[in-house]
């Protein structure tokens, strides 16, 4: 065997180097791909906050109140000593129903779902009532609406402690 052949790689060593190379390349590519994936999840979104203070219960008349619809997407509904925060997202496909005071109902313009003022669906394709958001009071007695927690009628959650406040 010549001197040169001893110092250079033999076939087996060459292939193990190749494997190391491929594993490194694969890991680097996978790492880069996961960084790109993470890049597409923004850390800050320029959207309204998920909770807000909605004033005192006495500010609201009985029935449906629309003052938080634009921006926060919430209807305040007060009836029989209870005040609730209702989601304004149609349970059919996610459009925003319109409050029709003359007919005393919510009507979705997309596919015609209708809801009573308390959020129970009664016409159109909506499969379930409007969701309600967590509602509570701060030490001053002001209403706090928290949209990160929802209460669903069909799960029997509307009588949960945080689903309404007594007024």
């Amino acid at each position: 065997m010549s001197e040169e052949a001893k110092t250079s790689l033999n076939r087996r060593e060459f292939f193990s180097f190749l494997a190391v190379g491929w594993i490194t390349f694969g890991a680097a590519t996978a790492g880069l791909a996961s960084l790109v994936f993470r890049f597409l999840y923004p850390n800050v979104v320029f959207e309204p906050a998920m909770d807000f203070i909605a004033g005192f219960p006495d500010d609201y008349p009985d029935g449906v109140d629309e003052r938080w619809k634009n921006g926060f997407g919430v209807w305040i509904y007060k009836k029989d000593g209870r005040l609730v925060a209702m989601s304004n997202i149609c349970t059919h496909l996610g459009c925003i129903p319109t409050w029709l005071p003359a007919e005393s109902k919510f009507k979705c313009p997309c596919h015609g779902s209708g809801y009573y003022p308390n959020g129970i669906n009664f016409e159109g394709p909506a499969p379930r009532p409007l969701e309600r958001y967590k509602i509570s009071r701060d030490p001053e007695g002001k209403i706090i609406v928290d949209k990160t927690k929802v209460f669903r009628y069909e799960k029997g959650e509307w009588n949960s402690t945080d689903a309404f406040i007594e007024v």
Partner: protein, 259 residues
Amino acid sequence: MSEGFAKKVADTQVWKAIFRHGPPNNARNRAAVVAGNVFLHLHPIKLKKSGVQLGYTWCMGGLTFFVFLSLTVTGVLLMFYYRPTAEYAFTDIIGLREHVPLGIMRELHRWGAHLMVITVWIHMFRVFMTGSYKPPREFNWGVGVILLVLTMLLSFTGYLLPWDQLAIWAITVGSNMAKATPFLGYGGPGAALAKIGDFVMVSDKNDVRFQLLGGRFVGEAALLRFYILHCVFIPLVVAVLIAVHFWRVRKDGGISAPL
């Protein structure tokens, strides 16, 4: 006289630098025309007679490609006037009709979009009816299915850009399907299982719908995302796959004839 002039032009160094072959008046030079051109070389050098029979292919694949090209041209032109922001998008679309020269440009793009969806479906129907999905063309059928889906996605992402009520609510409804993705969408099956104590792992602020829209609802971030997808990302992928598609048509035995 004109023949002498043509010969003179063909003898110049400029002409010879561009065209490496002689005039296409024999089989060898005609083959060289196709093989020596970067665009045409995807195309077979020789076609079977059935390949140019309109009754056989309906030319639907070719028409789809032609419409794609015209959509690229009109789309790039529209980009000179359209700004994908909540403040300007809607009025820019109105402006394209009302005061930009050639107010039909946006309609050409919209009609072309409808036409491409139609021709791509008819192309698929024809390929199915002539049995052209069978081996050795099965891989190209797969590429074609991906191109069909991408055509739909181009349609879907372009739908949001006018930024009117129809656009916003159509995309709201459409992107709510992403919410129902198993495990990855917060309304989908299995998402409720991904929970550690009270901590919900898949919620409306980290699921696939959030990634698609760049937010919890169809807002300005979604408009910008759909604009990038519509104008840059999906067309690039489509262009690459079209090249693969054409190349494989050639390599798998030409257009659709029995092998």
